[in-house]
Symmetry: D2
């Protein structure tokens, strides 16, 4: 059973400077480019708690993405520095959910989102959530 | 008010060959790469009904993305040819939702998702949904 | 020693529809996006001669990129359909060079370029160029 | 006439953490992903000298890319932090060239490259190189 983390508190885990490669002809960040920021957010969130992903990959464990969602409140633009917030919203025996917020330097909410994950081994078979991850986030 | 299209039927609008650029170190398509396929799906869906996006852009109208979601059922891999299905799920005075399915050649569902849209002008101001779009999809 | 193919003839191997994801705030294709088109060109060139890359990957062989170059003559824009031309410019015992041209529908040259390759095994060690590749392109 | 800068000295202008989105099924950074790092390098190089690109864009001036080249010496991998070095190699009345090196944390050269540029206005017409840029780099 998944244990929901009441009123998930998100932590500022990284900032990110928008480049031309992220933007589109509307002169705003392309909707698909925010998933790179979510990835950075989740990697830095886990690293900050002592769970750097490369340590898991070395043990043959991957945090596979089962699903994602994003709401675009306001656009980020070329050369903006945005703040990436992330937090674990729930963690269970086999799954966890991460929540994200991308904010402008002045705190304005630009994008919010979620990713749902399972732990898989190198062959794509679901694994139990490592206890140290449950301990950190449960 | 948004008129929901009952039991949206999705149409095969394009196929897509997965390239190295789409994949990640898990040797599957990166979760963020599917939003490119959704974009292709929605462009071809609208084109097939006589509403090519460049015609709207010429009039200063953009189909901005308000939100998106994706569920990853099974991974696509390098060099796979996948089929992109798309359909309009609902259309209202100012908004519409598109639904997508990405399927393997044998029909296996790989990814499903949605995008929510508003029509904006060049300055980012919301516009009424053009009548010809409401007529096509309503 | 590398055998140069005199006056390399390039073959039209694919076409490609430019999407928003490829473009930047100048409203043209981002300079880095053409390397995806080069990848498509090289995969389809090899496939057309019976050397599909997945067959090599299955044998643990990768066509690693040692270098690349591109000249941008004219920009491609959103929704353009461009033609991808590719040809092997030279092939040696351990290396080969591929040349590319990206052309507009009316034949206008947009981008030209090259990639230099070595065959590596799964561990990144250089391998002899497979004889069937030398036979096809030599 | 272009004035070549003798023995261009490159400056460390940024570092960059490699993400999954940058990598490919060989489990190394995709050859096309380095052009994003070159872009970061050139933006930070110009910013460090008081020529932030957004100031030019506001005046309707873009540093268009005429050509690029890259040599891949050794691969960068997931989660590596690499250093981005950049310097202006030559500057003329209408053109300039930037050189790059991407290095591992221990100083190992991973990738070297160049980009050639012209200043264009919003309509894509070539413009004279602004004097303050010639003064900074000439």
């Amino acid at each position: 059973m998944s244990k929901s983390v009441e009123s998930t508190s998100l932590t500022k885990v990284a900032n990110y400077r928008v480049v031309f490669a992220d933007c589109d002809p509307m002169r705003i960040v392309y909707y698909g480019s925010y998933f790179r920021m979510f990835e950075i957010g989740r990697a830095e969130l886990f690293r900050s708690l002592g769970h750097a992903f490369p340590d898991y990959i070395e043990r043959g464990l991957y945090l596979a993405v089962l699903g994602t969602s994003a709401r675009y409140h306001r656009p980020a633009r070329y050369d903006d520095i945005v703040d990436i917030y992330a937090g674990v919203a729930s963690v269970g025996r086999a799954r966890l959910q991460v929540r994200y917020e991308i904010k402008a330097a002045d705190g304005t909410l630009l994008v919010s989102g979620t990713t749902d994950h399972a732990i898989l081994d190198d062959d794509g078979r679901p694994q139990r959530m490592p206890q140290e991850i449950r301990d950190s986030f449960g």
